[in-house]
Amino acid sequence: MWKQQKFDLIIVGGGPAGSTAARFAAIGGISVLLLEKDRDIGVPVRCGEAASDEGLRIFVDPDTRWIKSVITKLRLISPSEHTIDIDLKQKGYILDRRIFDYDLAQYAADEGAQIVCKAYVDGLLFKDGKVAGVTGEHLGERFEVESDIVIGADGVESRVGRWAGLATVVKMKDMESAIQKTIAGIEVDEHRFDFYMSREWAPGGYLWIFPKGPNAANIGLGVSGKYSRFRSAQRYLDDFLAKTFPDGSVISSTVGGVPCDKTLKKFVTDGLMLAGDSAHMVNPMTGGGIVPGMRGGMLAGETAVEAIKAGDTSEKFLNRYPKAWHKIGGKNHERFYSIKEAIFRLTDKELDSIVAAVEKISPDERSIAKVFRKAVFKKPSLVVDVMKVFAGI
């Protein structure tokens, strides 16, 4: 019985980051307990469910059971509804996270990780100043389970890190207050992502249409916490749906916070690592967090194995995890954050004039880089920002 055991590693949270950490830690041969607060892995879905083929393939073979749509192009829609269509070099997917997350947890269990649902973690155990396990409640009973390492993969709430003294609170301007409805009975291009950029539709964020087959889509938006106090995300979405898809049926709806921030400066301490949304690993420009979360989870899981084998779970040892994270992408996120800031500073008028300029590039010559060059040309004050942002590309 897990409540009476001691584990090498306890993971809090059974999303993509937690399950991937569990899988790679179990592959490395250490004992792993994963605790999920909800009844089911993968439910409720709190996600737009978009991910790139290239990113997913690092961890899993794409499986038609959890692919709802294959995406080959994207469309940007400006405030006055000018559009730019771009063919994607790498295809993307809209997933069914309920099946996807379930599979990820199964991979971890197959490797020997133990997974428990309805296990609500509400505190940490400490020994000699080091994190040494978790406390919580399972089916009305208290539990205390010891471990040498804890990985907090507890999502946007990120309380595990706070309990260990890490500064995980998301700044209001970087928190996207998000809502999404899955609308059925409509017609969409099943191979295209649509992004609406406008302060009127979603200030400090964007509105998305992610197709789930030809007759349904995840339609949602995020509003920066800087603006959500004046008008809630729900009101923005309801207005858009009433105008654009008045006859669609809502077959699912979800809300959530998306931390669109740079990765936390510090997400490791003695005996503890954070992974995924809890460490602010979401791509701050797109809000996409599935693949970054899995990357973080994998690195944290592998680092846990190394630490257990070396008999050293100190912050100093565990710091190889943030080092590895920054090497494979964390640094990119700082650049994406700057792009986000530059884009959200644009007025609707400026966005319109940029999109109008890009419309003049012939479609087969359009690439993200070219689109940006045109944008820079149209809006000289962006030059400095964008130069900085693209300095390394």
């Binding site: 928190m175 207050s177 106090r229 959530g256 916070g257």
Partner: protein, 61 residues
């Protein structure tokens, strides 16, 4: 004082992520504010996507 409107919350955790004093407790389908810790900053009210929170006058005792 901030109150939670009954039966409205979707338990997404967005408010927990911005709460500067970690006073919101969120289980599977259960949310509570610890008023001993709450500083009435209202960030939960400002960030909630579906207007679950309400700012109510504190009654004089």
């Amino acid at each position: 004082m901030i109150e939670i409107k009954p039966n409205k919350c979707d338990f997404c955790g967005c408010c927990v992520g911005v709460c500067p004093v970690d006073c919101i407790d969120l289980k599977e389908a259960d949310i509570d504010i610890d008023y001993n810790v709450c500083i009435d900053c209202k960030l939960c009210l400002y960030i909630c996507p579906i207007e679950v929170f309400e700012d109510v006058e504190t009654a004089e005792i």
